[in-house]
Symmetry: C2
Subunit: 179 residues, 2 copies
């Protein structure tokens, strides 16, 4: 398979590159790849009055799905924005809170078969109100969920967003190890 | 925000749709969305001679990353292909095994901020050799890993592929519950 040419077919919040190859039999083969600046995923945890750990989740309309889903706060990094700056900005925009502590929970590739989007996950704790305005195209409601229930949902399939399953299960293990 | 027009900027193994909106101040705003036929993720588990559960993982070169990563076998669904047919086909193509049992472990959205890709995860057991040829553009090596070690890697961040973290942690819980 011999490389032939590369072109950008769309350039916006992320870019779409299409590479063309010539196969051994002479036919052309096209492969698409998303060039993405990366994203942050937040697991904002607070202690409720009854001593239960609660996570701030979003009920968010996703135009690509044509539906609203339950997911952790997350957002795309601006081109050269430092990861922790992005994490704090997205947390404030989407939940209205700032975190005094941000603990890294590792990074994951979102969809490596088609995109170089890398997601950096943070446990966000010691939260205080400090909102920023939302992005122009976001429709979001914040919901508070017990961490234990989210862990059960991540495992049994009720939580359907991949990054949220990863974030919730890593956060639960991190918090349990710290006790 | 008023919808203006929609166009397809690339159509291949998946499609890229760009929707244009007119903002209240008159400016145009473009939003991209990947239209994806869906994918399967396999967790192929066999019992090793020492009684340890082993998972068949792939060390796969990913052109979108320019690097090889460790991940579960997975693959894109052909347009109207039934999910279980796709699961068995991808398992045979990528690992050379067929599964007599496929247990569903739920579904997840891979990257709902930009794509409607839905991933159906299956625990694949009772494996027997029955290979199919690989896709023209795949570079894959199969590796056998202890399930317990993969669980630790999924939680501590060494496993960096989101769908694989979800698949491994759900499979481990499913197998533990069945004992």
């Amino acid at each position: 398979m011999e490389f032939s040419q590369s072109r950008i077919v769309w350039d916006g919040k992320w870019r779409v590159r299409v590479d063309t190859f010539r196969l051994a039999d002479g036919r052309l083969y096209e492969r698409g790849a998303i060039e993405h600046p990366g994203a942050v995923v937040l697991v904002p945890v607070m202690m409720a009055e009854d001593g239960v750990r609660a996570v701030l989740m979003l009920r968010q309309y996703r135009p690509a799905l044509g539906a609203s889903i339950l997911e952790l706060p997350a957002g795309t990094r601006e081109s050269d924005e430092p990861w922790l700056t992005c994490a704090q900005r997205e947390l404030r925009e989407e939940t209205g809170f700032r975190a005094a502590e941000m603990s890294p929970l590792g990074e994951v590739w979102a969809a490596p078969g088609l995109s170089n989007e890398r997601m950096a996950i943070y446990l966000a704790t010691s939260l205080t109100a400090d909102p920023l305005p939302m992005d122009v195209d976001e429709q979001i409601a914040v919901e508070s969920w017990p961490l234990d229930e989210l862990v059960a949902m991540a495992v049994d399939g009720r939580l359907e967003d991949a990054k949220s399953v990863v974030g919730i299960l890593r956060a639960a293990r991190h918090l349990a190890a710290a006790e």
